[in-house]
Amino acid sequence: MSDAKIVVRRLGVFFGQAQSLRWVTMDVPRNRILGIIGPSGSGKTTFLRTLNRLNDLSPDTHIEGEVLLDGQDIHHPNFDVVALRKRIGMVFALPVPLPMSIFDNVVYGARLAGVKRDKWDELVERSLRAAFLWDEVKDRLHTSGMRLSGGQQQRLCLARTLAMEPEVVLLDEPCSGLDPISTAKIEEALTILKAKYTIVLVTNNTKQAARVADDTAFFLMGEMVEHGPTSQIFTVPRDKRTNDYVTGRFG
Protein backbone atom coordinates (compact mmCIF):
# COMPACT_ATOMS: atom_id res chain seq x y z
CA MET A 1 0.00 0.00 0.00
CA SER A 2 1.33 3.43 -0.96
CA ASP A 3 2.21 5.90 1.79
CA ALA A 4 -0.01 8.43 0.05
CA LYS A 5 -3.71 8.26 0.91
CA ILE A 6 -4.48 10.96 -1.60
CA VAL A 7 -2.43 11.82 -4.65
CA VAL A 8 -3.05 15.18 -6.36
CA ARG A 9 -1.62 15.73 -9.83
CA ARG A 10 -1.72 19.03 -11.73
CA LEU A 11 -5.01 20.01 -10.14
CA GLY A 12 -6.59 23.10 -11.64
CA VAL A 13 -9.95 24.41 -10.41
CA PHE A 14 -11.87 27.03 -12.37
CA PHE A 15 -15.00 28.91 -11.36
CA GLY A 16 -16.20 30.25 -14.68
CA GLN A 17 -13.21 32.01 -16.23
CA ALA A 18 -11.39 32.46 -12.92
CA GLN A 19 -8.77 29.89 -12.01
CA SER A 20 -8.75 29.35 -8.24
CA LEU A 21 -6.18 26.56 -8.07
CA ARG A 22 -3.11 26.54 -10.28
CA TRP A 23 -1.85 23.09 -11.09
CA VAL A 24 -1.34 21.77 -7.58
CA THR A 25 0.64 18.56 -7.28
CA MET A 26 1.19 16.85 -3.94
CA ASP A 27 0.78 13.65 -1.97
CA VAL A 28 -1.29 13.54 1.22
CA PRO A 29 0.36 10.84 3.34
CA ARG A 30 -1.90 8.45 5.23
CA ASN A 31 -2.18 8.63 9.02
CA ARG A 32 -0.60 12.03 9.19
CA ILE A 33 -1.89 15.56 9.62
CA LEU A 34 -1.39 17.83 6.62
CA GLY A 35 -1.73 21.50 7.55
CA ILE A 36 -2.65 23.95 4.82
CA ILE A 37 -1.80 27.58 5.42
CA GLY A 38 -2.05 30.71 3.33
CA PRO A 39 -3.73 34.11 3.28
CA SER A 40 -7.39 34.64 2.39
CA GLY A 41 -8.09 33.85 -1.24
CA SER A 42 -5.03 31.62 -1.58
CA GLY A 43 -7.11 28.59 -2.59
CA LYS A 44 -6.72 26.50 0.53
CA THR A 45 -10.44 25.99 1.13
CA THR A 46 -11.00 25.39 -2.61
CA PHE A 47 -8.34 22.68 -2.43
CA LEU A 48 -9.98 21.11 0.64
CA ARG A 49 -13.46 21.15 -0.90
CA THR A 50 -12.09 19.57 -4.09
CA LEU A 51 -10.91 16.56 -2.10
CA ASN A 52 -14.49 15.46 -1.41
CA ARG A 53 -16.00 17.12 -4.49
CA LEU A 54 -17.95 19.77 -2.61
CA ASN A 55 -16.98 22.19 -5.40
CA ASP A 56 -19.18 20.14 -7.73
CA LEU A 57 -22.10 21.92 -6.09
CA SER A 58 -20.95 25.31 -7.41
CA PRO A 59 -22.19 26.18 -10.91
CA ASP A 60 -19.60 26.75 -13.66
CA THR A 61 -17.00 24.66 -11.84
CA HIS A 62 -14.44 23.09 -14.07
CA ILE A 63 -11.70 20.79 -12.80
CA GLU A 64 -8.56 19.62 -14.53
CA GLY A 65 -5.91 17.20 -13.31
CA GLU A 66 -6.31 14.23 -11.00
CA VAL A 67 -7.21 13.51 -7.39
CA LEU A 68 -6.62 9.86 -6.55
CA LEU A 69 -7.99 8.32 -3.35
CA ASP A 70 -6.15 5.06 -2.73
CA GLY A 71 -5.27 5.13 -6.41
CA GLN A 72 -8.83 5.74 -7.69
CA ASP A 73 -9.72 8.92 -9.55
CA ILE A 74 -12.48 10.62 -7.55
CA HIS A 75 -13.62 12.57 -10.61
CA HIS A 76 -14.14 9.47 -12.71
CA PRO A 77 -17.79 9.27 -13.89
CA ASN A 78 -18.18 5.87 -12.20
CA PHE A 79 -16.92 7.12 -8.83
CA ASP A 80 -19.80 7.27 -6.33
CA VAL A 81 -19.87 10.78 -4.80
CA VAL A 82 -22.00 9.71 -1.84
CA ALA A 83 -19.54 6.94 -1.04
CA LEU A 84 -16.70 9.44 -1.45
CA ARG A 85 -18.21 11.76 1.15
CA LYS A 86 -18.60 8.85 3.56
CA ARG A 87 -14.93 8.04 3.11
CA ILE A 88 -13.85 11.69 3.34
CA GLY A 89 -15.67 13.54 6.12
CA MET A 90 -15.56 17.26 6.68
CA VAL A 91 -15.74 19.63 9.65
CA PHE A 92 -16.45 23.29 8.88
CA ALA A 93 -15.36 26.52 10.53
CA LEU A 94 -18.68 27.22 12.19
CA PRO A 95 -20.07 24.36 14.26
CA VAL A 96 -23.57 23.54 13.05
CA PRO A 97 -25.28 21.21 15.51
CA LEU A 98 -28.60 19.97 14.22
CA PRO A 99 -31.64 21.06 16.29
CA MET A 100 -31.88 17.72 18.07
CA SER A 101 -30.25 15.89 20.99
CA ILE A 102 -26.53 15.25 21.30
CA PHE A 103 -27.23 11.55 20.76
CA ASP A 104 -29.29 12.15 17.63
CA ASN A 105 -26.70 14.57 16.25
CA VAL A 106 -24.04 11.88 16.41
CA VAL A 107 -26.13 9.10 14.85
CA TYR A 108 -27.77 11.33 12.24
CA GLY A 109 -25.54 10.34 9.32
CA ALA A 110 -25.18 6.74 10.39
CA ARG A 111 -28.98 6.41 10.67
CA LEU A 112 -29.42 7.72 7.11
CA ALA A 113 -26.74 5.30 5.98
CA GLY A 114 -28.76 2.41 7.41
CA VAL A 115 -26.80 1.58 10.55
CA LYS A 116 -29.05 -0.56 12.80
CA ARG A 117 -30.50 0.92 16.01
CA ASP A 118 -28.79 -1.68 18.25
CA LYS A 119 -25.42 -0.30 17.13
CA TRP A 120 -26.22 3.32 17.97
CA ASP A 121 -25.26 3.38 21.69
CA GLU A 122 -21.85 1.98 20.99
CA LEU A 123 -21.39 4.28 17.98
CA VAL A 124 -22.30 7.39 19.99
CA GLU A 125 -19.94 6.54 22.85
CA ARG A 126 -17.08 5.66 20.52
CA SER A 127 -17.48 8.81 18.41
CA LEU A 128 -17.85 11.16 21.40
CA ARG A 129 -14.83 9.60 23.07
CA ALA A 130 -12.77 10.01 19.89
CA ALA A 131 -13.79 13.67 19.74
CA PHE A 132 -12.80 14.16 23.41
CA LEU A 133 -16.39 15.10 24.33
CA TRP A 134 -17.75 11.96 26.03
CA ASP A 135 -16.78 12.84 29.62
CA GLU A 136 -18.46 16.24 29.36
CA VAL A 137 -21.80 15.04 27.92
CA LYS A 138 -22.24 11.37 28.87
CA ASP A 139 -24.87 12.24 31.51
CA ARG A 140 -26.94 14.46 29.21
CA LEU A 141 -26.90 12.72 25.84
CA HIS A 142 -30.57 13.46 25.29
CA THR A 143 -30.37 17.20 25.84
CA SER A 144 -30.14 19.52 22.85
CA GLY A 145 -26.82 19.81 21.03
CA MET A 146 -27.63 23.51 20.64
CA ARG A 147 -27.10 24.02 24.38
CA LEU A 148 -23.42 23.06 24.28
CA SER A 149 -20.66 25.69 24.31
CA GLY A 150 -19.00 26.66 21.01
CA GLY A 151 -16.02 24.40 21.65
CA GLN A 152 -18.27 21.50 22.62
CA GLN A 153 -20.45 22.06 19.54
CA GLN A 154 -17.38 21.85 17.31
CA ARG A 155 -16.32 18.60 18.96
CA LEU A 156 -19.90 17.34 18.51
CA CYS A 157 -19.56 18.08 14.77
CA LEU A 158 -16.26 16.21 14.77
CA ALA A 159 -17.97 13.27 16.53
CA ARG A 160 -20.76 13.35 13.93
CA THR A 161 -18.15 13.15 11.19
CA LEU A 162 -16.26 10.34 12.92
CA ALA A 163 -19.50 8.37 13.40
CA MET A 164 -19.51 7.77 9.66
CA GLU A 165 -16.15 6.02 10.10
CA PRO A 166 -14.40 7.99 7.37
CA GLU A 167 -10.86 7.32 6.19
CA VAL A 168 -9.98 10.98 5.75
CA VAL A 169 -11.13 13.94 7.84
CA LEU A 170 -11.02 17.40 6.30
CA LEU A 171 -11.16 20.36 8.68
CA ASP A 172 -11.72 23.90 7.45
CA GLU A 173 -10.51 26.28 10.16
CA PRO A 174 -12.20 24.21 12.88
CA CYS A 175 -10.97 26.43 15.73
CA SER A 176 -11.53 29.86 14.21
CA GLY A 177 -14.19 30.82 16.76
CA LEU A 178 -12.92 28.87 19.73
CA ASP A 179 -11.15 29.89 22.94
CA PRO A 180 -7.63 28.56 23.65
CA ILE A 181 -8.82 25.71 25.90
CA SER A 182 -11.37 24.46 23.35
CA THR A 183 -8.75 24.85 20.61
CA ALA A 184 -6.28 22.79 22.63
CA LYS A 185 -8.91 20.03 23.04
CA ILE A 186 -9.56 19.86 19.29
CA GLU A 187 -5.82 19.85 18.57
CA GLU A 188 -5.23 17.10 21.15
CA ALA A 189 -8.04 15.07 19.55
CA LEU A 190 -6.51 15.47 16.07
CA THR A 191 -3.09 14.35 17.25
CA ILE A 192 -4.60 11.14 18.58
CA LEU A 193 -7.04 10.62 15.70
CA LYS A 194 -4.29 10.56 13.08
CA ALA A 195 -3.38 7.03 14.16
CA LYS A 196 -6.66 5.96 12.55
CA TYR A 197 -7.42 8.68 10.02
CA THR A 198 -5.66 10.84 7.45
CA ILE A 199 -6.28 14.45 8.38
CA VAL A 200 -6.15 17.60 6.27
CA LEU A 201 -6.40 20.79 8.30
CA VAL A 202 -6.90 24.20 6.72
CA THR A 203 -6.03 26.93 9.16
CA ASN A 204 -5.50 30.68 9.19
CA ASN A 205 -3.55 30.24 12.39
CA THR A 206 -0.01 29.36 11.33
CA LYS A 207 0.88 28.54 14.93
CA GLN A 208 -1.83 25.88 14.92
CA ALA A 209 -0.28 24.23 11.86
CA ALA A 210 3.10 24.40 13.61
CA ARG A 211 1.63 22.71 16.70
CA VAL A 212 -0.31 19.86 15.16
CA ALA A 213 0.57 19.26 11.51
CA ASP A 214 3.19 16.70 10.50
CA ASP A 215 3.47 18.28 7.06
CA THR A 216 2.52 21.76 5.96
CA ALA A 217 1.65 23.20 2.57
CA PHE A 218 1.70 26.93 1.90
CA PHE A 219 -0.76 28.27 -0.68
CA LEU A 220 -0.65 31.72 -2.28
CA MET A 221 -2.92 33.06 -5.03
CA GLY A 222 -4.06 29.61 -6.02
CA GLU A 223 -0.54 28.20 -6.21
CA MET A 224 0.99 25.73 -3.80
CA VAL A 225 4.26 27.52 -3.10
CA GLU A 226 5.89 25.01 -0.79
CA HIS A 227 5.09 21.69 0.86
CA GLY A 228 7.27 19.86 3.36
CA PRO A 229 7.71 18.63 6.92
CA THR A 230 6.26 21.20 9.34
CA SER A 231 9.59 21.43 11.17
CA GLN A 232 11.25 22.54 7.94
CA ILE A 233 8.51 24.96 6.81
CA PHE A 234 8.65 26.83 10.14
CA THR A 235 12.43 26.88 10.58
CA VAL A 236 14.08 26.87 7.16
CA PRO A 237 11.45 27.45 4.46
CA ARG A 238 12.91 27.19 0.98
CA ASP A 239 10.81 29.92 -0.61
CA LYS A 240 11.06 33.56 0.48
CA ARG A 241 7.27 33.93 0.18
CA THR A 242 6.80 31.12 2.70
CA ASN A 243 9.31 32.76 5.04
CA ASP A 244 7.52 36.10 4.76
CA TYR A 245 4.14 34.49 5.46
CA VAL A 246 5.13 32.35 8.45
CA THR A 247 7.01 35.29 10.00
CA GLY A 248 3.90 37.45 9.61
CA ARG A 249 5.27 39.88 7.03
CA PHE A 250 2.09 39.55 5.01
CA GLY A 251 -1.27 37.83 5.18
Partner: protein
Protein backbone atom coordinates in the same frame (compact mmCIF):
# COMPACT_ATOMS: atom_id res chain seq x y z
CA UNK B 1 4.84 44.98 5.66
CA UNK B 2 6.74 46.65 8.51
CA UNK B 3 5.90 44.92 11.77
CA UNK B 4 6.22 46.22 15.32
CA UNK B 5 8.31 43.09 15.80
CA UNK B 6 10.81 44.50 13.26
CA UNK B 7 11.43 47.42 15.63
CA UNK B 8 12.26 44.95 18.39
CA UNK B 9 14.59 43.05 16.07
CA UNK B 10 16.30 46.33 15.07
CA UNK B 11 16.75 47.17 18.74
CA UNK B 12 18.32 43.73 19.22
CA UNK B 13 20.71 44.37 16.30
CA UNK B 14 21.60 47.78 17.73
CA UNK B 15 22.50 46.29 21.12
CA UNK B 16 24.54 43.49 19.55
CA UNK B 17 26.46 46.06 17.49
CA UNK B 18 27.12 48.12 20.63
CA UNK B 19 28.33 45.03 22.52
CA UNK B 20 30.60 44.12 19.63
CA UNK B 21 32.05 47.65 19.40
CA UNK B 22 32.86 47.59 23.13
CA UNK B 23 34.55 44.19 22.87
CA UNK B 24 36.57 45.31 19.87
CA UNK B 25 37.67 48.47 21.70
CA UNK B 26 38.76 46.32 24.67
CA UNK B 27 40.99 44.21 22.40
CA UNK B 28 42.54 47.34 20.85
CA UNK B 29 43.14 48.97 24.25
CA UNK B 30 44.72 45.84 25.77
CA UNK B 31 47.14 45.46 22.85
CA UNK B 32 47.90 49.20 22.80
CA UNK B 33 48.89 48.96 26.48
CA UNK B 34 51.16 46.03 25.67
CA UNK B 35 52.79 47.30 22.48
CA UNK B 36 53.03 51.03 23.31
CA UNK B 37 53.55 50.39 27.03
CA UNK B 38 50.71 52.83 27.69
CA UNK B 39 49.02 52.20 31.04
CA UNK B 40 46.33 54.80 30.31
CA UNK B 41 44.93 52.48 27.63
CA UNK B 42 43.85 50.07 30.38
CA UNK B 43 41.76 52.50 32.41
CA UNK B 44 38.46 51.83 30.60
CA UNK B 45 38.81 48.04 30.24
CA UNK B 46 37.09 47.06 33.51
CA UNK B 47 34.26 49.47 32.85
CA UNK B 48 33.81 48.16 29.30
CA UNK B 49 33.82 44.60 30.55
CA UNK B 50 31.03 45.39 33.02
CA UNK B 51 29.06 46.99 30.18
CA UNK B 52 29.60 43.94 27.94
CA UNK B 53 28.37 41.64 30.72
CA UNK B 54 25.33 43.85 31.31
CA UNK B 55 24.50 43.82 27.59
CA UNK B 56 24.80 40.03 27.46
CA UNK B 57 22.17 39.65 30.19
CA UNK B 58 19.97 42.36 28.66
CA UNK B 59 20.08 40.86 25.13
CA UNK B 60 19.44 37.33 26.40
CA UNK B 61 16.42 38.62 28.35
CA UNK B 62 15.13 40.37 25.22
CA UNK B 63 15.47 37.14 23.21
CA UNK B 64 13.73 35.12 25.93
CA UNK B 65 10.82 37.57 25.99
CA UNK B 66 10.55 37.70 22.19
CA UNK B 67 10.43 33.91 21.97
CA UNK B 68 7.71 33.79 24.63
CA UNK B 69 5.57 36.63 23.29
CA UNK B 70 6.18 36.59 19.54
CA UNK B 71 6.68 32.88 18.98
CA UNK B 72 9.04 33.63 16.09
CA UNK B 73 9.45 31.26 13.15
CA UNK B 74 11.81 30.76 10.20
CA UNK B 75 14.32 33.61 9.66
CA UNK B 76 13.14 35.49 12.78
CA UNK B 77 13.58 32.38 14.93
CA UNK B 78 17.04 31.71 13.52
CA UNK B 79 18.06 35.33 14.13
CA UNK B 80 16.93 35.30 17.77
CA UNK B 81 18.47 31.92 18.57
CA UNK B 82 21.66 33.10 16.86
CA UNK B 83 21.65 36.29 18.96
CA UNK B 84 21.80 34.35 22.24
CA UNK B 85 24.78 32.38 20.94
CA UNK B 86 26.45 35.53 19.63
CA UNK B 87 26.24 37.29 23.01
CA UNK B 88 28.03 34.31 24.57
CA UNK B 89 30.84 34.56 22.01
CA UNK B 90 31.11 38.34 22.38
CA UNK B 91 31.26 38.07 26.17
CA UNK B 92 33.92 35.39 26.01
CA UNK B 93 36.07 37.24 23.52
CA UNK B 94 35.82 40.33 25.74
CA UNK B 95 37.11 38.11 28.58
CA UNK B 96 40.09 37.26 26.38
CA UNK B 97 40.77 41.00 26.05
CA UNK B 98 40.74 41.26 29.86
CA UNK B 99 43.25 38.37 30.02
CA UNK B 100 45.51 40.24 27.56
CA UNK B 101 45.20 43.42 29.63
CA UNK B 102 46.28 41.54 32.78
CA UNK B 103 49.44 40.36 31.02
CA UNK B 104 50.01 43.81 29.48
CA UNK B 105 50.06 45.29 32.99
CA UNK B 106 53.03 43.06 33.86
CA UNK B 107 54.82 43.17 30.50
CA UNK B 108 54.73 46.94 30.00
CA UNK B 109 57.11 47.32 32.95
CA UNK B 110 59.81 45.41 31.07
CA UNK B 111 61.71 45.98 27.84
CA UNK B 112 60.35 43.81 25.03
CA UNK B 113 62.48 40.93 23.72
CA UNK B 114 62.11 42.38 20.22
CA UNK B 115 59.93 44.94 18.46
CA UNK B 116 56.28 43.82 18.24
CA UNK B 117 55.43 42.71 14.69
CA UNK B 118 53.31 39.55 14.79
CA UNK B 119 51.14 40.55 17.76
CA UNK B 120 49.89 43.75 16.02
CA UNK B 121 49.27 41.70 12.84
CA UNK B 122 47.26 39.15 14.82
CA UNK B 123 45.36 41.96 16.54
CA UNK B 124 44.36 43.55 13.24
CA UNK B 125 43.12 40.22 11.93
CA UNK B 126 41.27 39.32 15.14
CA UNK B 127 39.60 42.72 15.48
CA UNK B 128 38.62 42.64 11.81
CA UNK B 129 37.14 39.18 12.22
CA UNK B 130 35.08 40.30 15.24
CA UNK B 131 33.81 43.43 13.50
CA UNK B 132 33.06 41.73 10.17
CA UNK B 133 31.44 38.62 11.63
CA UNK B 134 28.97 40.71 13.61
CA UNK B 135 28.40 42.97 10.61
CA UNK B 136 27.69 39.89 8.46
CA UNK B 137 25.33 38.61 11.16
CA UNK B 138 23.19 41.72 11.61
CA UNK B 139 23.21 42.70 7.93
CA UNK B 140 22.67 39.19 6.54
CA UNK B 141 25.88 39.14 4.42
CA UNK B 142 26.65 35.48 3.88
CA UNK B 143 29.70 35.99 1.64
CA UNK B 144 31.34 38.19 4.25
CA UNK B 145 30.59 35.56 6.93
CA UNK B 146 32.26 32.82 4.88
CA UNK B 147 35.25 35.08 4.23
CA UNK B 148 35.67 35.71 7.99
CA UNK B 149 35.74 31.95 8.58
CA UNK B 150 38.60 31.65 6.06
CA UNK B 151 40.62 34.34 7.88
CA UNK B 152 40.88 32.17 11.00
CA UNK B 153 43.62 30.09 9.35
CA UNK B 154 45.88 33.19 9.09
CA UNK B 155 45.53 33.75 12.81
CA UNK B 156 46.42 30.15 13.59
CA UNK B 157 49.51 30.34 11.35
CA UNK B 158 50.72 33.55 13.01
CA UNK B 159 50.23 32.01 16.44
CA UNK B 160 52.48 29.09 15.45
CA UNK B 161 55.04 31.57 14.17
CA UNK B 162 55.12 33.49 17.44
CA UNK B 163 55.30 30.26 19.48
CA UNK B 164 58.39 29.19 17.51
CA UNK B 165 59.97 32.62 17.94
CA UNK B 166 59.38 32.69 21.71
CA UNK B 167 60.60 29.12 22.09
CA UNK B 168 63.87 30.16 20.53
CA UNK B 169 64.25 33.03 23.05
CA UNK B 170 63.50 30.69 25.95
CA UNK B 171 66.00 28.09 24.76
CA UNK B 172 68.74 30.69 24.27
CA UNK B 173 68.16 32.51 27.55
CA UNK B 174 66.05 30.96 30.34
CA UNK B 175 65.72 34.37 31.96
CA UNK B 176 63.33 35.32 29.15
CA UNK B 177 60.92 32.50 30.01
CA UNK B 178 58.39 34.53 32.09
CA UNK B 179 58.16 37.29 29.46
CA UNK B 180 58.13 34.92 26.46
CA UNK B 181 55.49 32.71 28.05
CA UNK B 182 53.22 35.71 28.57
CA UNK B 183 53.66 36.65 24.89
CA UNK B 184 52.75 33.06 23.91
CA UNK B 185 49.62 33.37 26.06
CA UNK B 186 48.69 36.73 24.48
CA UNK B 187 48.96 35.10 21.05
CA UNK B 188 46.76 32.29 22.37
CA UNK B 189 44.19 34.87 23.61
CA UNK B 190 44.13 36.51 20.17
CA UNK B 191 43.73 33.14 18.49
CA UNK B 192 40.78 32.35 20.81
CA UNK B 193 39.22 35.72 19.90
CA UNK B 194 39.43 34.60 16.27
CA UNK B 195 37.69 31.33 17.20
CA UNK B 196 34.80 33.24 18.81
CA UNK B 197 34.52 35.49 15.74
CA UNK B 198 34.45 32.37 13.58
CA UNK B 199 31.57 31.04 15.72
CA UNK B 200 29.67 34.28 15.13
CA UNK B 201 30.31 34.01 11.37
CA UNK B 202 29.07 30.39 11.35
CA UNK B 203 26.00 31.62 13.20
CA UNK B 204 25.51 34.25 10.51
CA UNK B 205 25.50 31.54 7.83
CA UNK B 206 22.87 29.64 9.85
CA UNK B 207 20.72 32.77 10.22
CA UNK B 208 20.92 33.67 6.55
CA UNK B 209 20.83 30.27 4.83
CA UNK B 210 19.48 27.96 7.53
CA UNK B 211 22.57 25.76 7.16
CA UNK B 212 24.43 24.56 10.22
CA UNK B 213 28.08 24.59 9.12
CA UNK B 214 29.68 24.07 12.54
CA UNK B 215 32.28 21.35 12.85
CA UNK B 216 32.69 21.21 9.08
CA UNK B 217 29.10 20.06 8.50
CA UNK B 218 28.60 22.41 5.58
CA UNK B 219 25.96 20.35 3.80
CA UNK B 220 23.83 19.23 6.72
CA UNK B 221 20.29 20.73 6.68
CA UNK B 222 19.42 22.63 9.85
CA UNK B 223 15.99 21.13 10.42
Amino acid sequence: MERHFDEELNDLKHRLTKMCALAETMIGDAIKALVQRDASALTAIQQHEAEVNRLQVEIDEMCFTMIALRQPTASDLRFILGATKTTTDLERLADQAVNISNKAERLMKQDPLKPFVIIPQMTDIARGMVRDSLHAYVNRQVEKAREVIQRDAQLNALKKEINAEMLEFMQRNPATVPYALDIVLVAHNLERIGDHAKNIAENAVFVIEGKDIRHGTENRPAA
